[in-house]
């Protein structure tokens, strides 16, 4: 029986943010309705296919977009379909993402009743000017309201997303945001340095000079402050971008770094069956059309060759605090390079694992490239 993580993508938001490159669009009830229908179709298709058929779900994750905009009764149908098709236990981590200001806080109670046990809130910043620049529809107060509503609905496990490297943001203003986030007592925090993605309003603004590109050195300073603050607040830095209170590491998140299988349903969703990766079309329209005529909405499939598998293990392993097995690394990569990296402080060895020290984690790609270039 295959154990896997299930991801369900809901590509609609009330408004698109200025930095966002995820597949999502402004919600339109008619399209959203059609989308929901075919989402079930795809779920049923996959439930009949190997290796997913009769598999056991390690975690389920409703991502987006803003999946909390899905009607409660539809979520119920989804969850019923999931538990009818796959093995799902009450302990299974089930996450739903929500964005403050989406007027959905009153649904949290019902989400919780349906078995969803983890709430991931897109806070991004606790500075209203920054939120405005990012194109978020909410204020700092809306974040607090969402967290409070989550708590009242019964959620113990609440994660917040925070951005740093926002234009105009300083180390101090990020620290203020971070402190406000910690004051809300989340169990989990995901933090990303803002990157300017193609085809976003930010990319256009940088191009026409109305926005300055993020300064990587400032981001590095912010990161440096971040890891100190999080350590003092009692969080484990269990993955490059993720921090959790003890016992609240995200099972779903770790799936991606551990190279264990995952099934993605919905537009642009990615899947990995242990050997190959495949992903759905980015186009909501194509997705709906294909499934309506009972065709698969696949965009592409990629088989991972054995050398590529080894490379993936390298750069995914080093993203986590679990690290990379020393014997594995020495077997496949240059021992001299690994030794040099240890001597120069870019790798540590703990319990027979190579780890990138927290202070150097932002140079992960350099470390990986160094290892790959000499093997």
């Amino acid at each position: 029986m295959t154990k896997f993580a299930l991801y369900i993508h809901y590509p609609f938001c009330i408004k698109r943010c200025n930095y966002c490159a995820f597949v999502s669009s402004v919600i339109d009830d008619k399209i959203a309705n059609s989308y929901q229908k075919v989402l079930l179709t795809e779920l049923k298709q996959k439930a009949d296919e190997q290796p997913w058929r009769d598999g056991k779900i390690r975690s389920a994750y409703f991502g987006g977009g803003t999946p909390s905009l899905m009607p409660v009764d539809f979520i119920e149908i989804l969850l019923n379909t999931i538990s009818n098709s796959f093995c799902l236990t009450p302990e299974t981590e089930i996450t739903i993402e929500t964005n403050p200001g989406s007027d959905v806080n009153d649904r949290f109670k019902e989400f919780f009743k349906l078995g969803i046990n983890r709430l991931s809130i897109g806070a991004q910043s606790f500075n209203d000017d920054e939120l405005k620049l990012l194109g978020r529809i909410h204020s700092t107060d809306d974040i607090c309201d969402a967290v409070q509503a989550g708590r009242e609905a019964g959620f113990e496990n609440i994660s917040l997303d925070l951005l740093y490297g926002i234009p105009g943001q300083t180390v101090n203003s990020f620290q203020t945001s971070l402190q406000k986030a910690l004051d809300l007592n989340p169990t989990h925090l995901s933090t990303y340095a803002l990157s300017i993605e193609d085809n976003t309003p930010f990319a256009r603004m940088v191009k026409n000079g109305s926005l300055s590109a993020p300064d990587p050195d400032l981001a590095a300073d912010q990161y440096s402050m971040l890891i100190d603050v999080m350590k003092n607040a009692g969080f484990n830095h269990y993955e490059l971008t993720n921090y959790s209170k003890s016992g609240f590491e995200s099972t779903h998140n770790k799936t991606y770094w551990q190279r264990t299988p995952y099934l993605g349903i919905g537009t642009a969703a990615h899947s990995f069956d242990g050997q190959k990766r495949f992903w759905n079309t980015n186009s909501i329209e194509t997705y709906i059309r294909n499934l309506k005529s009972d065709k698969i909405p696949l965009n592409n499939t990629e088989f991972i060759s054995p050398p590529e598998q080894i490379e993936e293990q390298l750069y995914l392993g080093l993203r986590t605090s679990a690290g990379l097995d020393v014997d594995f690394a020495r077997k496949h990569f240059s021992k001299n390079t690994l030794r040099e990296l240890v001597l120069d402080g870019f790798l540590n060895i703990q319990h027979r694992k190579y780890l990138v020290p927290e202070k150097k984690w932002l140079l992960l790609d350099e470390v990986v490239l160094k290892i790959l270039s000499t093997s």
């Binding site: 990615h270 990995f272 790609d365």
Partner: protein, 605 residues
């Protein structure tokens, strides 16, 4: 008897004065190619030539033309390169001709290089047919240019043709002048009643390599006859071959039963080994050899040296083979293996000049698909050592320590610069900056001065021509010839990356210019070297005394953190892209340096 209907000629012209267009018109008028509406430029068949607007390699083409007298003439047009670096190639082409068309742009006038080539043609006793081109241009000043030409070659006004190759004006006049004025090839000797009895002499003026047929020299038969199956030898190598094929060069090679004295064509000697058909060499007959080769051939002397290295060490053998092939049709290219601590295995190459270096490098990269790095070029120095030994040094690494040097001498050239008078001041200043010694100024006409300088060759191989062109808005032109050696004060300047001496970046530089050079290179490297995992200290030093320093701060962030819902593929692709980027880097010591760094050091700002 030698055929009286052969005319061997070339076109002497400055870049962009219309040589290729005139050549096309001649091909068209003699029916070799169909009518040409726009320019096609048949003679420049390398991309590189067309892009740079210059002819790098001499080629040849045979045309037939029935003249008014009813005789069918054979017109052999031998193309010549048009840049100052290639004066040796010009000399070989001229040696195969009896006449030359001197083509001058009606609005540009006579340029320095044209003068140099005209002198070379006169030395070779060539008949010169002067022609003013582009007379249709609004800016044309044919009377002024005519006077310049008359002063230059001492001809009469009515001898100067006025044409427009682009418009097809005056092409017939050119052909008639070639036929009427240029003499047929000179007979070898009147001792022989038949050409067949003459000892064979054929001059190689160019040579190409064909993957199927091997080396193919382009030749002019000076005496005797060349036929398939004949046993021949090359004077310089004494190697013998049996001739596979001889023929004429038209748009394609056209095999013939023989090539006789006076004729121009090709020979396929069945020579598979690269490097044995040397341009400028003489072909003789094994059965009937002459003891001496033809005169007029000069050993090509490289003037500029640089190390060339494959970026990828695995390409060393390919590089070696490519150099051997290039050498086949570029007699002036010299090379020998050298090793650099920084760049690994490569070759020290000798070139005629900086443009020649660039062209060779580009051809190696394009035609042989190699990725190369070049060190900073330098001239050859003559060093008198304290132990009374004389050394020639063409590589900074081999410069003895200052203690061991009694005296350094550097090559000196006589430079002539032709310019409109308004740029004289700026050119004087440039030449002084380049340690030039002013000699005198002549006027070709009130609009055109010729400045004469003596200058160190080392000062003109670096960027002089580009500077001259830009400060004179393209009007000034320049040529030089070697005159000898002069005592100078040179030092070796080293570049260190994180304390490690990078031998490939060392240069020999004049004492007074060492500081400026060091500062410039250090700053340039600081701009080009990307931030990496460590801070990089860049230093310039003369005998371990640091004269300039710059720092590249350590990189602090390079990671693709965000993962889009399990989209590992995107991560891997971005990593692959970064990997490709790293491949374009050279590890110098422990520092990653982009290949462009080497080229950037060669260019001024």
């Amino acid at each position: 008897m030698i055929k009286k209907n052969i005319r061997n000629f070339c076109i002497i012209a400055h870049i962009d004065h219309g040589k290729s267009t005139l050549a096309d018109r001649l091909l068209e008028a003699t029916g070799l190619i169909a009518s040409i509406g726009e320019r096609t430029q048949f003679l420049d068949d390398m991309d590189l030539e067309r892009e740079r607007g210059i002819t790098i390699k001499a080629h040849a083409i045979t045309m037939n033309h029935k003249a008014a007298d009813g005789i069918e003439y054979v017109l052999n047009l031998i193309d010549t390169p048009g840049h100052v670096d290639f004066s040796y190639e010009v000399s070989r082409s001229l040696a195969a001709c009896e006449g030359a068309i001197l083509l001058v742009d009606a609005s540009q006038g006579v340029e320095a290089q044209t003068i140099a080539n005209v002198y070379l043609a006169l030395e070779n006793d060539l008949t010169i047919i002067p022609a003013i081109n582009k007379i249709d241009l609004v800016s044309a000043q044919p009377d002024l240019v005519q006077q310049q030409i008359m002063d230059l070659i001492g001809c009469e006004a009515d001898e100067v043709l006025r044409i427009s190759a682009r418009q097809g004006i005056g092409i017939d006049q050119v052909i008639n002048a070639v036929i009427d004025l240029i003499p047929p090839p000179k007979p070898y000797s009147d001792k022989f009643s038949s050409i067949e009895d003459e000892p064979l002499q054929a001059l190689i003026f160019d040579s190409i390599f064909d993957n199927y047929r091997g080396a193919i020299p382009y030749i002019k038969v000076v005496s005797g006859v060349l036929k398939p199956d004949q046993m021949i030898f090359f004077h310089s190598t004494r190697k013998k071959y049996q001739v596979d094929e001889v023929g004429l060069l038209r748009l394609k090679r056209e095999p013939q039963k023989q090539l006789a004295a006076g004729e121009v064509g090709y020979i396929i000697p069945g020579c598979k080994e690269v490097g044995e058909t040397r341009v400028g060499d003489t072909i003789g007959d094994v059965e009937n050899p002459l003891p001496k080769p033809l005169s007029g051939y000069r050993e090509p002397k490289p003037m500029v040296y640089a190390g060339l290295y494959p970026t990828d060490a695995d390409e060393y053998e390919d590089f070696q083979n490519a150099l051997a092939k290039l050498k086949l049709n570029d007699a002036s290219l010299q090379y020998e293996p050298e090793t650099s601590g920084a760049l690994g295995f490569g070759f020290r190459c000798g070139f005629l000049g900086l443009l020649h270096l660039e062209i060779v490098q580009e051809r190696l990269e394009r035609e042989y698909n190699l990725d190369l790095v070049s060190t900073v070029p330098n001239v050859k120095y003559r060093i008198a050592c304290t132990d009374d030994q004389i050394l020639y040094v063409d590589n900074p690494v081999h410069l003895p320590s200052p203690m061991a040097i009694k005296e350094v001498e550097e090559p000196i050239v006589k430079a002539q610069i032709v310019t409109p008078p308004e740029f004289i001041g700026a050119i004087m200043q440039l030449s002084m900056e380049r340690r030039g010694i002013y000699e005198n100024t002549e006027y070709l006409d009130p609009q055109r001065a010729v400045l004469h300088f003596k200058m160190p060759l080392a000062e003109i191989i670096y960027d002089f021509y580009d500077r001259l062109k830009s400060m004179s808005r393209g009007y000034a032109s320049f040529d030089y010839e070697h005159t000898g050696w002069a005592v100078t004060k040179m030092v070796r300047l080293d570049i260190l990356l994180n304390g490690e001496l990078i031998d490939a970046l060392s240069v020999i530089v004049h004492e007074d210019k060492a500081y400026a050079w060091g500062r410039r290179v250090v700053d340039k490297l600081a701009q080009i070297i990307p931030r990496q995992m460590f801070e990089v200290a860049i230093q310039a030093a003369i005998s371990s005394r640091i004269i300039a320093r710059a720092t590249v701060r350590a990189l602090r962030k390079n990671v693709l953190a965000k993962c889009y819902g399990g989209d590992i593929t995107r991560k891997r692709k971005l990593l692959e892209k970064q990997k490709e980027g790293k491949k374009r880097m050279k590890m110098l010591g422990h520092v990653e340096v982009p290949q462009e760094a080497f080229m950037a050091i060669l260019k001024s700002d």
